[in-house]
């Protein structure tokens, strides 16, 4: 288990925290945030290579805040693997075996083989780190960290320098290691997709502040504030005012009004709509036939189109700007072009109201 209680870190003029976070045994925790948010500082603090200004760090119920790194029994893997260049792959993996109590050359060699096999790096043992690909380096780095029998694993953007093909294999490896060995993992990344694919629990750090923790799906669908919403890709953040009499209707600055799924207090209302929840038609559909009872349908014009992998991001003015994300095939079927007139559907259940303040 990794437990952070009120952790505050000062790095020059930049302050991080307070951070409260718990990752249970066998749980995969992701610390998510943009570059410069302070995620790596938190990881360094857990590893013991950076002092905390306040708060406590626990590993397996032991308060390790005052302990040096070698006494914390945590494994650390950096973005580029950071394998010791003067040692072979076998030498790297074997580095922590002494601390793990593996005595004797034969025993260490056998353990190196076992660990290399577990991460799919057996064929690399005699090679030097400089000859390895990014994915290979990361596998070896994981094996090296595991060799020292850590109680928890700390990963600093471990997949950032790895190509897409190798990334999937590494993701599967990391999940397997976490669950099979019952290790708590704290994985730092700026990649939302990576967080969604791996995390059991997620914490969003922006500008040194911990904004939200919880399962990744909850953060995605119900971000705590605008900063979280924007970071997790909820591009549609709308600032409106609740209707004077209808507690489920919000008026937007451009004149449109959106229906929401539950009553809200009078006054300003900040709404978040994920682009994949926005629907588009070329002609207004019959409400009953299309099951659109609880969908706000607004006329608009396409003002932006951009291909993103197998999807198309479409910006529509209703006249407030709304982004929709459609599979490329569906966008093609609609025959959308710049300036095209469309009807935009926003399901009430897809509108998340940000908490006030």
């Amino acid at each position: 288990m990794i437990g952070l209680s009120g952790i505050e870190i000062q790095a020059g003029g930049f302050r991080v925290g307070p951070v409260d976070l718990e990752v249970q045994d066998g749980e995969y925790g992701v610390l998510l945030g943009p570059s410069g948010a302070g995620k790596s500082l938190v990881l360094e603090a857990v590893a013991g290579v950076r002092r905390v200004a306040a708060g406590a760090i626990r590993v397996d119920d032991e308060d390790v805040t005052a302990l040096t790194p070698e006494k914390r029994h945590v494994g650390l893997v950096f973005q580029d693997g950071l394998l010791f260049p003067h040692l072979s792959v076998a030498g790297n993996v074997a580095y922590g075996l002494r601390r793990a109590g593996v005595a004797g050359r034969a025993a260490r060699a056998a353990e190196v083989e076992r660990l290399a096999d577990a991460v799919g790096a057996t064929a690399l043992l005699k090679r030097k780190p400089a000859t390895l690909s990014g994915g290979e380096r990361q596998r070896v780095a994981v094996a090296r960290a595991l060799a020292a029998r850590p109680r928890a694993l700390l990963l600093d953007e471990p997949l950032s320098a790895v190509d897409a093909e190798a990334r999937e294999g590494l993701q599967e490896l990391l999940r397997r290691v976490s669950h099979e060995q019952g290790l708590s993992v704290l994985h730092v990344t700026h990649d939302r997709a990576e967080a969604s694919a791996l995390a059991d629990t997620c914490a969003v750090l922006v500008g040194g502040r911990l904004l939200q923790t919880g399962p990744p799906r909850k953060i995605l669908m119900a971000p705590a504030d605008e900063a979280v919403a924007r970071f997790v890709g909820a591009r549609n953040v709308l600032h409106g005012v609740r209707d004077a009499s209808d507690a489920r209707l919000v008026h937007l600055p451009g004149g449109a009004a959106l229906r929401i799924a539950h009553d809200i207090p009078a006054g300003p209302a900040d709404l978040v709509v994920r682009p994949e929840d926005v629907r588009l038609w070329r002609a207004r559909p019959p409400a009953a036939a299309a099951g659109l009872d609880d969908v706000t349908v607004l006329p608009g014009n396409v003002v932006g189109l951009s291909l993103q992998g197998g999807f198309v991001l479409i910006r529509v003015e209703v006249p407030d700007a709304l982004d929709a994300l459609l599979p490329a095939r569906d966008a093609d079927a609609l025959g959308l072009t710049l300036g095209a007139a469309v009807d935009v559907g926003v399901p009430a259940g897809a509108v998340h109201v940000l908490p006030p303040g």
Binding site: G48, P69, G75, L76, F78, F84, H86, R144, A145, A148
Partner: protein
């Protein structure tokens, strides 16, 4: 208006480099050629020249070893730690570079001479630094230590500190991480600093001549022969030390220090 084409730029660089090389090589080459093999052989047969050469080289080695012991830890601290007064410390380390060397000798005398601050305490114990090999080592150490500390500091700074972080999480103490991870990556730079320090030591004259005229290192012997007997008499010891220094420098660089990798090699 002159327009610089790439080929003209490199040609200018080559001309400047050639002039500089000539400026450095000509005096050495002229001296070596002028001395001739016969004169060099005769010099090697002279006891005082051989003794002086051995004294110079060995005293510089001793100074360098002491420099490693005291200077490498300091270099590592300067590479890794920030602390109040760090810039001042770095400035103090480099002070001997700007000291006029005879002034350095005088300054050393005020501390280590028989009536000096430290010397007067050690003299009754039979430890003296004036007119002794110990004094020669001391003078060489003083003037050449910055070369080792500065070069070693840069070598340590080039090693990503995150390597040490990883090593610590794998069970290494700070000293263990230094010995097993940092130093193996930095040793060439540290050794280069040591070679520079040794080279600076063997060439020292001003501080040595003030603190320990005798026994004579090669620079003092050369000067004495020049003053007493002229250029021809001074050439053999001078040429011998230049040859020794050149062989050591080039040999160590070739054998131990890697060539700079080109971008092509790195790709």
């Amino acid at each position: 208006m002159i327009r610089f084409r790439p080929s003209l730029f490199w040609a200018l660089c080559a001309v400047a480099g050639a002039l500089l090389l000539a400026f450095v090589l000509l005096p050495a080459a002229s001296m070596i050629v002028g001395a001739g093999a016969g004169l060099l052989g005769e010099a090697l047969r002279q006891d005082d020249v051989r003794r002086s050469l051995w004294l110079t080289v060995s005293a510089a080695v001793i100074a360098t070893v002491i420099g490693f012991v005291v200077g490498v830890p300091l270099a590592y601290v300067l590479a890794r730690k920030e602390f109040p007064g760090k810039r001042l410390v770095e400035g103090v380390i480099d002070l001997p570079i700007v000291f006029p060397h005879t002034a350095a000798g005088v300054a050393l005398l005020t501390v280590w001479g028989r009536d000096g601050v430290v010397g007067r305490v050690l003299a009754p114990l039979g430890i003296t630094f004036t007119e002794t090999v110990a004094g020669i080592v001391l003078a060489m150490l003083f003037v050449s230590l910055p070369f080792l500390v500065d070069t070693a500091r840069e070598a340590f700074a080039m090693v990503d500190p995150r390597y040490e972080h990883v090593a610590r999480t794998l069970g290494s103490s700070p000293g263990g991480a230094f010995a097993r991870v940092t130093f193996p990556q930095a040793w060439r730079g540290v050794l280069a600093g040591g070679v520079l320090m040794w080279g600076r030591g063997i060439s020292e004259f001003g501080a040595v001549v003030i603190l320990a005229y005798n026994p004579k290192v090669i620079s003092v012997l050369t000067y004495e022969r020049f003053e007493g007997f002229g250029l021809r008499a001074a050439q053999p010891p001078a040429v011998l030390i230049v040859i020794v220094a050149f062989v050591v420098f080039v040999g160590l660089r070739t054998l131990l220090l890697p060539r700079r990798r080109s971008r092509k090699d790195a790709a």
